[in-house]
């Protein structure tokens, strides 16, 4: 899991205007960039668009992104969609410098608060602000974009969190989105430590062969985690019976064969793996673990930027 780090971000200049249009926003970005020669060197990574409702704290998003350090997108656009029928477009722009080793690169923040009919046409607001020839990642923090949203077509990758977006019932919608535009799901990324621990438990050659003898799989945990883990394991063990149990806060995976039982589970600060086999001493291993933070998940999403075929298969089996 990538780790977010705090790096120095120096603000070159800011601009804001209420009841504006996109042209002044673009003008301000250009002006601010040129106002400081050092700021003209643009980072060349990606454009990140974060979309959310009134609950979105814009500065919180910027702070999160600024903490990404080397994974800091070249331009971050945060759109806060407000309730109300009357047209509103308030904009705030910041141009910053960030040190990356011996280099100093320019990064931009754009915050838009919108209300009225334009909220159904966010793509028209955002597309002129995206940087050419860089991937566009749309981060849907609270909910999934509607299927008809053109923001999906604008995105090279969608970052979602199925848990925040409504839970297990939203997985079919995530699958539909994923068929259109590669989706990176925080809910899936959160499972990586557990999946890695399980995989690592079968590294020894004498244990590796047990994977061919798995007959039953049981997963526990919150509903989205359970569903994704079950989908993944169904794909890994097509002949096994895969079951889900309970709605526990902690997660666990148990693989059972005729003469063995391997279990990995999360505890508040640890990941524990336990193996019992007929005729063998029980084996137990514990490693430190803490739930990934939003910063870490976002960094992981932006660093990889690839369509994960394992997620695709797991999702298709949920």
């Amino acid at each position: 899991m990538a780790t977010a780090v705090t790096t120095g971000v120096i603000t070159v200049g800011t601009w804001q205007e209420c009841d504006t249009t996109i042209a002044p926003v673009l003008g301000a970005l250009d002006r601010l960039r040129r106002s400081d020669r050092r700021g003209a060197v643009r980072a060349s990574f990606l454009t990140l668009l974060a979309v959310g409702g009134e609950r979105v704290e814009v500065d919180e998003v910027f702070d999160t992104v600024h903490r990404l350090g080397p994974f800091q997108p070249s331009r971050v656009i945060v759109v806060r969609v407000l309730r109300g029928d009357h047209h509103r477009l308030d904009a705030r722009v910041g141009v910053h410098l960030q040190s990356r080793g011996s280099q100093c690169v320019g990064i931009d923040d754009v915050a838009l608060e919108v209300a009225g009919p334009v909220t159904a046409h966010l793509d028209s607001l955002v597309e002129p602000l995206t940087l050419p020839d860089l991937p566009v990642v749309v981060w849907c923090r609270e909910r999934l974009p509607p299927a008809r949203s053109r923001l999906i077509d604008l995105a090279d990758h969608l970052v979602v969190d199925t848990v925040a977006a409504g839970g297990r019932s939203r997985l079919p919608a995530v699958a539909r989105l994923h068929r259109r535009t590669p989706v990176i799901d925080f809910a899936w990324l959160r499972l990586f430590p557990l999946r890695r621990r399980l995989a690592a438990s079968f590294l020894r050659p004498d244990l590796r062969r047990l994977l061919d003898e798995v007959e039953a799989v049981t997963v526990t945990g919150p509903e989205v985690d359970r569903a994704l883990l079950a989908g993944w394991l169904l794909d890994c063990f097509p002949g096994a019976v895969v079951g889900e149990e309970g709605d526990h806060a902690s997660m666990s995976i148990t693989l059972e064969g005729d003469d063995f039982r391997m279990s990995v589970e999360t505890a508040p600060n640890a990941l524990t793996a336990t193996l019992t086999r007929d005729g063998h001493q029980p084996w137990r291993s514990e490693s430190a673990w803490s739930p990934p933070t939003t910063d870490g998940l976002l960094a992981e999403s932006l660093l990889g930027l690839r369509s994960d075929p394992v997620f695709t298969r797991a999702l298709s089996r949920t």
Partner: protein
Amino acid sequence: MTDSHPLFEGLGVGRAASPAAIVIFGASGDLTRRKLMPALQTLMARDQLRAGTSIVGVGRSDLGDEGFRRRMAESVRSAGGDGPVDERAWSALEGGFRYVSGGYDDPATYKRLAEVVEDLDRERGTGGNRLYYLSTPPAVFADVVGHLGTVGLHRPAPGGTFARVVIEKPFGHDLASARALDRDLHEVLDEDQLYRIDHYLGKETVQNVLALRFANSIFEPVWDRRYVDSVQITVAEAEGVGHRAGFYEDAGALRDIMQNHLLQVLALTAMEPPVSMSPKGIRDEKVKALGAVDVLAPSEVAAEVVRGQYRAGWVGGAKVPGYLDEEGVAADSRTETYLAMRLRIDNWRWAGVPFYLRTGKCLPRRVTEVALQFSGVPHLPFAPTQAAQLSPNALVLRIQPDEGITLRFGAKVPGQTFDVRTVSMDFSYGAAFAEEAPEAYERLLLDALLGDPTLFIRTDEVEQAWRVVQPLLDAWTEDRTPPAGYDAGTWGPPQADRLLERNGHRWRRP
């Protein structure tokens, strides 16, 4: 090509033009207010115009010298964002404003004009130098030039002075009318007095296409059919037709952009290396490139060209009406606001390489770029999953906005696995040069005053460009099919996507 003398050497003044009477026909129009006057003031502020330079407006409005001066002062102020006018430059120009009121078809207008410019020669030392700028409807070009000829204003005075005429596009509305216009103009003027302006050529980044290609050894060797898979040239406008419906209804995207801006950029992209950067050297090669464009047969137009017309939609967060609902547009208009076409250039360098050209109004963003997409490697020694994020190499010349160059190539993603992803290497004008690039009109006005026609369009270039687009006009005259609709704020009708998909290509998202 500088109009200077040895005493200026080392003073950092650069190119500067001798005092002249700059006569603007259509002086009360939008172009004069938004572009010409601010450009002239900037040139004066940079000492690229000499004291004595005078500006004579000619138009139907009854402005008077003082009214014209006030209007020009206002235009300079508004162009500077209400910032301070350069007082030194303004005071140098201030006494040189004159206005001649009258019709373009009235001989008396030209007699008064002759008196005014002769007075300026005496009062302000313009020395018989004349630059006539025709910022008028094209229909009066020939009339104006004819009348200039009648009163002898077209002739340079003895003693090394000049009389030049700048005309704005469109140069004709089809091949036949372009030829007719040229005949009329050449009855009065020599070709070397005619400066056909396409402001695109005044943009620094358009000129940089020449620098990139011919000042570097690394690009030219791959700039041909052996390495280039396809070329895309995009001129996208976010704005709708606005208040230009009267002009646009007759012009459409073909005459407004494709026949001039787009084909000029195409010529610079496709031309062979010139022997020298002289006006003749460059323009000869551009003509050859345009001459090598394979003209579509009328039967090919439907398959190789897509024309569209915008419907209501959203652009830049604002709702815009459909073209048919714009003021001044006919309810059954078939004028194209979008145009995409595939061209072939039949020469040694480009045979088999498709050139995809597109332009349109109400597209998602304003952008002009040339993108060369290169062929793939002969063998990709990576697993499909390793190279899933790899797209073809591309060299993108961004002409506006955010002027610069981007090279796209594959690089290993840092980490223990060997994944390859496309990354961008970016050159930005704003980052590399401290100097602000001059506005296109500043460059072109100074060139015209100095007698440098390199960035102006020669008569044979105009004719070649019309030769390329004439089959489209012919085909559309016969074809009553309305243009394909596209929602404002999208990248054009789906038919344009299919135009490329047939060859396994897709439009870039610029």
